[in-house]
Subunit: 623 residues, 2 copies
């Protein structure tokens, strides 16, 4: 502990009702930083190979990052990880809000949870103290009720919560973890893991400040952001992440009717400007963030949307609207509210609905199957109702709650062709036939198709390339609908840096340059770190996640895309270009090789594991 930067990890065994504290050496922090680094580390160390994601052997990790909880823009993020109920592989989702910062201020960098409580419990962490408390009385509550009850019980309305709603309790395979009612660790089904463990919530409260090695350096960075965020990210405040929806539709990148098309005729009705001018009543941010890209919406007519649950982000809007052929913002707001109240991933839920709609339109699901719902694209009421059914595991919703891929296998008749997914996880809201770097990203992301581990081809198509790419050693422009090794290089470097954001608990929307992020880490830790060292941490994290997947049986045959990606849009050609499987495959190999993994199998080589200082995972590969 040369510079003394180190903290505490909380361990919990729910079966035994025990907790204990680990105080790792500084090297541990420097090697893994936090976020995915911690998730991958503890999954590889603690989870028995082949464990059932919904069994007591699964290991659930709540992890902050280096920047989480530091009073500077972007420090509001943390992540949740486990073996994923939705994919059977590496499960991780990151999330904004306030819980992560509160957990750190309460004295812990991460929580590692094992076992299964005999009866529902919640975990209460305050000022370094830890308590497992009964939660039978909370079981079945929606998130708002749960939060109110716990805050009242603990006598502190500033307690921050990571919790599940009824969907997690009912083990919906794409249930999420909800922080502070409005922030979701959405993907891969981690809410079901909490449910399977009888863990209703983690409550945190800390009044301390997170220590910082160089407070003046930090203040200077914070000052810069105060003076510059409006110019660089003011649009995000004004319109939220949904601000770009119309533009995406124009270039054919907006998923429409279950990815049959890339342009949506109703896009103008659902884009950020329309939301601002209709249902928006407020804007919110995460911990310490001036940008406040999060929306608060209210609807008072037939849908009755409670603003306590915030409002939909772009991914949520698109999955319930264009993706379902719907242009009714109020219905979308309702579906969003249901998901946050019950604890469901909005992306996977919208994709489950659109999958069912396409099945229905093609006769694979009948009115009998849907309980009378006219499940056609464009039917807003049916979408909201089916969302509710998934939340409650009612009727068709019970089938879809196993995930669209599992549902398709039950439905049969080739329904699988309507599931846009990788490794069982539905596509997020980015049409990859108009941006081929994303196609690669969907295929190789360790969590399955994921917008958080991906690449936006746009900047790479520019001529000249922006300095942000050139300074990564990428000097060659490539069109959006092309995949070549130059693009794989950029994909590899850029997504590795995105992993780093996660390791740091840092939001990628904050307009820090990479240099400034290095400066932030220096100011916080006192290390003389640099971009090279931080990139190595990210390569380490991605490689550990890969090793975890390989160990759990996910390999090259799972790094593939559904056949729809190899076909053109159905209704109207825009500027999409199908991605043939053999083209994808060739570039998956190149990606493996560039990562220092075997180009055929994607297995990291022994020397690469040593180079990344994670030789200890070799035995996991051999297991």
């Amino acid at each position: 502990m040369v510079n003394g930067y180190a903290g505490r990890i909380l361990h919990v065994d729910l079966t035994e009702g025990k907790t204990w504290v680990e105080e790792p050496a500084e090297e541990f922090y420097r090697r893994y930083l936090g976020g995915n680094g911690f998730v991958a580390y503890y999954l590889l160390k603690e989870l028995p190979k082949g464990a059932d994601p919904l069994g007591p052997e699964n290991v659930l990790i709540f992890a902050t990052g280096t920047i989480t909880g530091i009073p500077v823009a972007g420090a509001g993020r943390s992540c949740v990880g486990a073996k994923a109920p939705l994919t059977g592989g590496y499960g991780e989702a990151d999330v904004g809000g306030f819980f992560g910062a509160e957990l750190k201020r309460a004295g812990f960098d991460a929580i590692v949870v094992r076992g299964r409580a005999p009866k529902p419990v919640y975990l209460w962490i305050h000022e370094g103290e830890v308590e497992l408390r009964p939660a039978e009385h909370l079981w079945g509550t929606k998130t708002h009720e749960c939060q109110e009850a716990i805050q009242e019980e603990l006598g502190d309305s500033r307690v921050r919560l990571a919790m599940i709603g009824p969907a997690g309790e009912k083990l919906v395979r794409f249930a999420c973890v909800i922080n502070d009612l409005r922030h979701a660790a959405g993907r891969t089904g981690l809410g079901a893991v909490m449910g399977s463990k009888n863990l209703k919530a983690v409550a945190a409260r800390g009044k301390g400040q997170v220590p910082v090695a160089d407070p003046e350096g930090l203040r200077e960075l914070a000052r810069w952001m105060r003076e510059n965020w409006k110019e660089k990210a003011g649009e995000l405040y004004e319109l939220g992440t949904d601000g770009g929806l119309l533009g995406l539709s124009e270039i054919g990148a907006l998923p429409t009717r279950n990815f049959q098309d890339g342009q949506f005729e109703g896009a103008e009705k659902i884009t950020g400007t329309t939301m601002r001018d209709t249902i928006l009543i407020g804007r919110e941010g995460c911990f310490a963030c001036p940008i406040r890209c999060k929306r608060v919406v209210k609807v008072e007519d037939e849908y009755q949307v409670d603003p306590i649950y915030g409002g939909p982000e772009y991914e949520t809007v698109a999955s319930f609207s264009s993706n379902c052929g719907i242009d009714d913002l109020k219905a979308i707001a309702k579906a969003h509210e249901l998901c946050n109240a019950y604890g469901l991933d909005t992306i996977s839920t919208g994709m489950a609905v659109s999958f069912a709609m396409e099945c229905f339109e093609n006769g694979l699901l009948t009115l009998e199957d849907t309980g009378g719902l006219e499940l056609r694209f464009g039917n807003a009421q049916a979408m909201v109702e089916l969302t509710r059914q998934i939340c409650e595991r009612e009727g068709l919703g019970d089938l879809l709650a196993e995930g669209p891929l599992a549902a398709a296998r039950k439905i049969g008749s080739g329904a699988e062709r309507y599931v846009l997914h990788v490794k069982g996880q539905p596509f997020p809201m980015h049409e990859c036939r108009t941006r081929h770097g994303q196609a690669l990203g969907y295929a190789v992301s360790p969590t399955g198709a994921d917008h958080m581990h991906n690449f936006w081809d746009g900047s790479m198509a520019k001529e000249p390339l922006p300095e942000s790419l050139r300074s990564l050693g990428v000097y060659q422009s490539v069109p959006q609908t092309e995949l070549n090794y130059h693009k794989v290089r950029a994909y590899t470097y850029v997504t590795n840096w995105q992993w780093l954001h996660n390791h740091l608990g840092h939001c990628m929307f904050i307009p820090w340059s990479r240099e400034q992020i290095v400066q932030l880490v220096r100011a916080i830790t006192g290390w003389e770190t640099n971009m090279w060292e931080l990139f190595k941490v990210a390569e380490r994290g991605v490689t550990m996640a890969r090793v975890f997947n390989l160990r759990e049986g996910l390999g090259r045959r799972d790094d593939v895309l559904p056949e729809r990606v190899a076909t053109p849009f159905v209704t109207k050609t825009v500027n999409e270009k199908p991605v043939p499987p053999e083209v994808l495959d060739e570039h998956v190999s190149i990606f493996y090789g560039m990562m220092g993994w075997d180009p055929e199998t994607g297995v990291p080589t022994g020397p690469r594991l040593q180079e990344l200082d994670i030789a200890w995972v070799q035995e996991q590969l051999e297991a």
Copy 2:
């Protein structure tokens, strides 16, 4: 050319007597920077596979780097490259002084020379103009005569020269290129390449300033160095590079009697302090350098050493003294003067002498072979005389002029066991049995055993590790006499950064931090570059050199060490630990793998070449 940082490359065809100018795009500079980057690029592009190093097809490159010629400490270096007469592989040597800076100020970043002049010529470059001038009248001159004649002829005493002496003309396989009489591009035999091309010298004169994108940023860095160099590198001024000799002997790292031992009983008589107190008459630096680590010595008794040739550095002192069992600084100064006047690499010359001494002591060479010289370890006069014979290719010197390995093969009777070399290039003056990282470095350096592409194990043995290693992601101490994958990691990163110094034309003795070097490159080029991008340039350069060697037939079987390294010291055990071939071999594989090369063959993988943006060299591998 986004930021406009780009320059001019001079091409010369000596056979045709033609010159022309190439103006590469900015990307070329950003991908390869300079130095080894240019050498490797042009060797791969221009040299026909299998070309004779001493034939007209060899390509000779003089290359500056990004920092060369900028008015800031450390900017005095440049390099020379070609297919090496001594190894048959990648030939490169870097050099300080003033020639590189002058070349750049005269308008060129590099010179690429092909063919063979029908009669001796020299190249005259001034203010962007180029002229090939006759040099028959200079043929046979020592470097000082040559310099005086050319400066007089051109009417400018400030003309700077890179030239050869009689040794290069006579194709001594370890002849060097001498800049400004006192600075040698010493290793791999590049002086012989100049000789084979009938190119006596390159003369440069430029009055312009090298343009700088951010002069204020540069001034600030220069100011920092002015204020800090004494504290950080004052010892180098005071005692020169020889200042550490006594310390090396104490830890058993001083090559003694042809690497039979690691401690020399006469070390005190030859260390920097003694030099200062006896024969030193001045200190000199390279272009823009405040540290002035170079020595100027004068001897007036029997050896008559002319101070015009400067004085010996550590490598020179050790190779002619402890390595030959000699403790007479005056004799060493004489050998040094001879080498600079005739243009010989002092390291290889000293090693040729010590090899012959061991042969003599073991009866493989007789008084008849030596022309009556009592060639025993410790015989200073014999050492000076044999050095002169090598310079003139007289007697035994003519045999040794082919390099100790070729000489040993002619001598027979197992003389090869007395040649401490890798790929035919003799060891520099660092005993690797007490520092195992160096052993690996000798084995895998593309130029053969080389102190410029190596690793100093000392800092890695410290506990805690210095931040300079920690900030490369190396957190694990390793004893000096141990080789494990942690050390291979550090070796790989540290020597890659050393290659970068060469690409930049920057001296590794200057106490800039890595961050400051990034800042220097930013200030000069205007690029928003960073440590990551610069490391990638270095990885690219090392990998290109590897590909060149593979193409020319040097592969894994050449990445080995002589058997003496696997045995203990002869006279007195210190703290050396032999390096068994199988241990070395294992770690060579790890190094290959860490570099993204096939761990068995050391052939860079296709995806790795793509990742480094040098996919174009793939065809060289297949050739």
